[in-house]
């Protein structure tokens, strides 16, 4: 049987046409494959890389663009720059105390509430509060509604303390404050004091604690009504949120 089967299969051969067609098919497929690879290597891959780069760049810029600013002043005068995701993207100090404080605590990439909590529990801030110094927290941002929400959140999360006051500033104030080399909170206190005492200078303010500024303000007779009438729009963005005592934000 083996011989018969062998002989039968021996009559079967691959036709020349079949071999040639296979060779042509392979040549065509390989040419197409090479073209696809060339396209992938020279067009698709760079395009995908560029797209990924642009997405990463967009994401980076989105994450690291500042949406809000939180100014914390007691004597350390510092600012937290916060992005749209409520994360601290950078910190900035406006005096030596502030610089020293920022060296002891890492706040970047923390949620602003967490960062504030961490700050307020540092030895530097707690010792100032124990000495009855005044802590001012100001929030600045384009979105007033969001600023208001942040302010409310900060107020509710803060330990109840009569020496803490929160307020909301505006973009122009922030710009002017930075040009003057001051944090927003301190600059606002400076403006307030300057209204009462035009002789006050930026250099003097820089050296003063918030409590000292407050005491200087209180040393002048109250002119609240006339001041408000004369400049009805001057502090339209400045809201006061006091904890406890009447004396508070400058």
């Amino acid at each position: 049987m083996t011989e018969q089967i062998k002989q039968a299969f021996d009559t079967i051969h691959a036709e020349t046409a079949l071999k040639e067609e296979t060779k042509q098919y392979l040549a065509l497929r390989l040419t197409r494959r090479q073209a696809q690879r060339r396209f992938f290597r020279h067009v698709a891959l760079p395009a995908v890389c560029m797209l990924l780069f642009l997405i990463s760049l967009g994401g980076y810029r989105l994450y690291f663009s500042q949406s809000f600013l939180i100014s914390i002043d007691i004597n350390p005068s510092i600012e937290l720059r916060v992005n749209r995701f409520d994360k601290v993207i950078s910190t900035h100090s406006y005096n030596e105390d502030g610089e020293r404080l920022l060296h002891t605590v890492k706040l970047q990439f923390l949620d602003y509430k967490e960062a504030l909590d961490k700050l307020l529990h540092t030895q530097s801030i707690t010792s100032y509060l124990e000495q009855e110094e005044l802590l001012s927290i100001s929030v600045v941002g384009k979105n007033e509604q969001k600023c208001q929400e942040m302010l409310t959140d900060i107020e509710t999360s803060l330990p109840r303390h009569h020496n803490v006051c929160c307020s909301m500033g505006n973009q122009e104030e922030a710009k002017a404050a930075h040009n003057a080399g001051l944090s927003v909170g301190k600059y606002r206190a400076f403006l307030k004091l300057q209204e009462k005492d035009p002789s006050i200078t930026l250099e003097e303010i820089k050296e003063m604690t918030m409590r000292e500024i407050e005491e200087r303000l209180l040393s002048f007779p109250a002119e609240e009504d006339t001041d408000t009438k004369q400049h009805p729009n001057k502090h339209q963005h400045q809201y006061r949120h006091r904890h406890g005592a009447e004396k508070g934000c400058s």
Partner: protein
């Protein structure tokens, strides 16, 4: 990816074997064409390093058998018949009248490879088991049954010789 020379050499070397395997399973030229293209494209793109010629030959057998099985199993093939194929259906692919090949083609699918590999290529049952990934005893069973079927189909004592494996 393999060079053009390598591919041409393989086509010359293994085309007849692949053609015979296709003949056992398939009934028309277009399917054989498909198998040739599938098998050799796989070879071109494969990065398998063959230790010997035997290894390479076994690879071609395995790939061809699997390609034939896939083609026979494919939904399109089992459900659709083209008009062209319909016209070809009555004709048997085998050139000339060869009752032995017709008998092999008439065997159940699972016996065909075993018959070809044993009776034509001269592989032993354990070798066939290794190549096709089947149990040796299964291969022995297939060989015994297929031999019986062939004897019945071809009839008479003319084909009743014993082969050297004693199956």
């Amino acid at each position: 990816m393999r060079s053009e020379e390598e591919v041409n050499r393989a086509i010359e070397q293994y085309s007849d074997m692949i053609r015979r395997l296709c003949m056992a399973h398939l009934k028309n030229y277009h399917d054989t064409q498909d198998i040739f293209q599938t098998v050799f494209l796989k070879y071109v793109l494969s990065s398998v390093v063959f230790e010997s010629e035997e290894h390479e030959k076994a690879w071609f057998i395995r790939v061809t058998v699997n390609a034939c099985k896939d083609l026979l199993k494919s939904f399109f093939r089992t459900h659709v018949v083209s008009l062209e194929d319909l016209a070809e259906l009555p004709s048997v692919e085998i050139s000339g009248s060869n009752e032995v090949l017709e008998a092999v083609q008439a065997l159940p699918e699972k016996y065909k490879d075993v018959v070809y590999l044993h009776f034509y290529e001269g592989y032993t049952a354990p070798e066939i088991g290794t190549i096709l990934g089947k149990n040796v005893n299964t291969v022995y069973t297939y060989l015994t049954r297929s031999k019986k079927l062939l004897r019945e189909a071809l009839g008479g004592d003319e084909y009743d010789g014993t082969d050297k494996t004693g199956i």
